[in-house]
Symmetry: D2
């Protein structure tokens, strides 16, 4: 239940205010060179305190590998790793111990397990996604060898939307600004919108778009594990995600079939489609075109505002949290979206090796 | 890869124009009374030829159970079943044998497997969903015992949308019309829209909404198998689905956190939330409120229109399919959405039995 | 729970006196030619009534494939199949409905599931192994392409043992006699011993040895899924099996390490070992030598003798079963042992494709 | 591939001479009190250097929990843990870097993965079983609550065998001597035999017997996951194990069915069997009687003797290892056998909660 993937498989563990966040990657092939700097950089893209628009929790978030790598290469054995917690401020949460914060997992955890680690969300904290970013970074290294590239960027913050197709923007510029929207003008507006939410002690949601380029034909399993179904599963498992659509998505459902169908054409580089409403996936299997999808993030639940709620004794009460908060989770969620996409694609890359005799 | 679920687990097999569609349900507890009429009725809701707005393929689609049921009850042993194909018209497809129909799985199957059963889509045909409807019907019987009810309905066809909340409509009326939209007036417009698409030899897409009532707190696993992530996975595995959103969904991402948070209140029936933007799920775990979600269906790819494409020898060509087609898949997809939701909820119902010592 | 294998995966269903025994094979690569005669022959080697020393239940046991094969080849899609029951004599079991036969699964099934299909053992019947033989036959076809050959033979019946090494017998002669011991002289004694048990209305057990030749180095996963651990798991899942040993087995534990170690030598065909106490597996991974192991079968529990027991109301009683019985299960178990070995090796053959980048 | 169990599931990682050995336990129910002293004591029973007859590698082997435990209780979240390596002496292995030690995993690892961590066996080292002992200790704590008790002891060393039934010995005395055979007289002979092997710079094998008491009826799944099949799988996954038998085992195959069958009788404590050749398992499911089985351990491959072998360049060579070795692995393997049995039983205890509606 804390594992993800069939062959390339991550098992995640750890809590927000326990010893740290860790994971085990099983099924990574032997012989992959591990670029430690690249992995740490992916973690840095996720870490709190990286810019003025993210939470000021100050964590170094350095990954320590515990197994599976020898002389700089994977060994085919499980890769254990750990990111130790440091800036924990557990006591900040003592006054929230016995109340159920609105739209958090406090109430549902107690109902499910009979108890919970109340410190900073415990296991339900988005800090758990550290394990996904580390594993995703290794998946990215594996996929790079196959010429596969995964990019995600912030497409919308609140009402402020990047109106361009991903084809008309420079994906290499995603990290050129702190909001991770590769359009300077729109990025500026997004940053202002997030700062406004921060000042309001409130939060704002939005949409991340991801693009996967270089996937050959044949990835994906036809029925329950369609490539987009596994991608959707991965995305919906990220904290605060409320929706997923790929290719033409919800809007495309308004087209007629004759408008929506992607006509096959013959090109110098083989069979291609004229349009790409299919989002690079047909019948659940990659067709060689770009894979692209949108992920909806709600405004996260942690506000620094007075809110009515109920406590463990079922008395109504009021909370007024103090401290730090993350007015918009999207810039830091970009590497998480990329990481989960990488895990899915790496898994299907390996599964695809055994289709034919 | 053709199995779905952790504990309550369906394995599906069969092709559109082979012997039939079958499945095996493993993990269904012993002692469940099997209401054969109910199961057959669920299949009838899915079957082609059921009304003037669906494909006229004429299949009885009668389920035959092969194992696991004795004296009317499940035995805890695997439940095998089969729905034999009858009205196959395989020869209709001979002229499509060597071409790649636009936005179908023809090309990707060949690329993945090196060959394909070209007759009617083979394994990629939506006919495979028969297995899901049978298994879902048994899951529904199991969940009914727990007071859990699952309803889906057509919310939008092309641009024609039912603008009401599910709370303001009578879910018992879903099957009162052939389009399965429980609002007579909107249903009539939807039917007209589908008939128009049929006359155009074209197709039209839309949205199905599902509502799950009576789920207690505690279903769902916190990290990768969040209840909504498994629901999304299930929905995105249905043919023609392009998107999934639950609770406040994509629109909710435009709210601020203070607007979006669901305040806990104390009621006579225990702790509840004032609003339900969470869609009944918090931290991936059910909170006792109604679970609701939307599923986007593209206009399906099978048209009776002339279309440009490419054949197996990579020559450009034109196809002009004849025969029958389904102008809108949504009315028949309603029981499929319900079935897949039932499989997910049944699985989490069983998983939830082992949370606490 | 009714599935076996990670990638090449069999799901089995069916009861002894229900509609039949079926299965689904998922994960078989596309493009494998299916030799129907070979598969049916494997079933014939398992079927009852094949000789004077087996049960006289008279079943044709013809396999009917339901999916996954098109134009004589696998398609990469799940292969469903069914062997229909015919000679059921269900009424024979009515008098056993309410008693617990000694050393059968009657009592444990009732305790586990609250009810059971009492007809002929239901799901606990060895008739279920039909599914394994069909799937194993397909696995054998896949492995033959890799030059891998699996042979099992009866090594001991009661106290009568074939004292030779498998290297000193002609494995092509296994089916040359009805007891499947490839030594005419010993076979004759075994047959006499089985006939004696039959006349006594009693049963006799023994040992089957299996030899797998042609496995290259590298099959097996180092920790929990050591190649021999998966083989043992497979064998111990066969009805009536009480023990498993590979290579030097229980006897080898009496040697010292310096006697037991297999010295590596250089040969024309590469690195080999001088002896093979390791049974072709070191550290859980195949080393290129022959894999061989022994499987212990108890005398099966179905006797035609008066026996004391207890009924459902917990009253002591006496049963005196009539009808047919199988005095020795070993000759018919030979193809089952081979089939399960084939499933394990096929699975590891596929897993082994993804070890290295 | 490095995970074990369906519900109560251990994922293991780590190498002999890397950072340490770790694991993640997923699926442990919430609310279990963790007795740290008990867990550490189990580790101490496994650790090297504990007595004069084990290897003198000197490791503290202290377990550090990384997640999943809060205020002394499990939380239902994954339990990560680590045992750091200390006394590594990696350089001892430099001279073995390029040779294949006889009957070790050196050659097969290189063949499978293309490279290997040569230091002390790396992942193939029995040091990996630390993860199993920690997880097994938690499984034991869970099972103790259900009144289930698991004991293993050394039954044979070389030719020296404890000839008594486990019923005639005092299982509470297993740890009363360093060889873990609960019969002082036999233990003394075993110790002398092991010391002799040590002086010879050689090794000696033998048999461990395990007894599981207090398992209620109903544990085990009828087909592939028979309770004894899962136990056998677990045991055969332990380093150096060559065989497994339960109940009457290999010897019982020489009985006739009428001798072997266990007659049901009515007792004050309900239905029981008069004899227990079934080893507490019928049809793969526990019947309430004691479960007992034997595990064969070969003499381990690490000797301090001159041996012929081959190196990486395929040249024949001679090795003459120096340093420390373990003349007999059985005393330290006792807690490993118990741990693996506990993992299997805990898993089936949880699975058994979902048999019936």
């Amino acid at each position: 239940m804390n594992s993800f993937g069939q062959i390339f498989r991550l098992t995640s563990f750890g809590e927000s205010h326990g010893r740290g966040i860790g994971g085990v990657i099983d099924g990574c092939p032997a012989g992959l060179e591990i670029d430690m700097e690249f992995i740490q950089n992916e973690l840095n893209r996720r870490k709190p305190g990286q810019s003025k628009i993210t939470t000021q929790r100050n964590e170094a978030d350095r990954v320590e590998f515990l197994s599976g790598i020898f002389e700089g290469k994977t060994q085919g054995t499980p890769i254990g790793f750990m990111v130790w917690n440091q800036d924990q401020h557990s006591n900040d949460y003592n006054n929230l111990k016995d109340v159920y914060r609105p739209s958090h997992a406090d109430y549902t955890y107690i109902q499910k397990y009979g108890s919970r680690d109340h410190r900073g969300g415990g296991r339900s904290s988005a800090r758990e996604t550290i394990a996904r970013v580390v594993a995703g970074a290794i998946a990215k290294l594996l996929l790079q060898k196959q010429g596969i590239r995964i990019d995600a960027f912030v497409k919308r913050v609140g009402e402020i939307e990047l109106q361009k197709s991903y084809k008309d923007i420079d994906l290499s510029q995603i990290d050129s600004n702190i909001v991770r929207c590769p359009d300077a003008e729109v990025a500026e507006k997004m940053i202002a919108r997030i700062e406004e939410a921060g000042r309001d002690r409130d939060t704002v949601g939005g949409v991340i778009q991801a693009v996967i380029q270089g996937v050959p034909t044949g990835f994906g399993e036809p029925v329950f594990n369609k490539l987009h179904a596994d991608l959707g599963h991965a995305m919906l498992g990220i904290n605060a995600v409320k929706g997923f659509e790929y290719g033409s998505g919800f809007e495309g459902t308004k087209l007629s079939g004759s408008e929506h169908n992607d006509i096959f054409i013959k090109t110098e580089s083989g069979i291609r489609t004229k349009t790409n409403n299919s989002g690079g996936i047909q019948g659940g299997i990659s067709n060689g075109e770009d894979i692209y999808f949108n992920v909806a993030f709600k405004p996260i639940a942690t506000l620094l505002k007075e809110q009515h709620t109920v406590d463990k004794e079922e008395n109504e009460t009021v909370i007024n949290p103090k401290g730090r908060h993350d007015p918009c989770v999207l810039p830091r969620a970009v590497p998480i979206v990329e990481a989960m996409a990488a895990l899915v694609i790496a898994d299907h890359y390996l599964l695809n090796k055994i289709n034919q005799i």
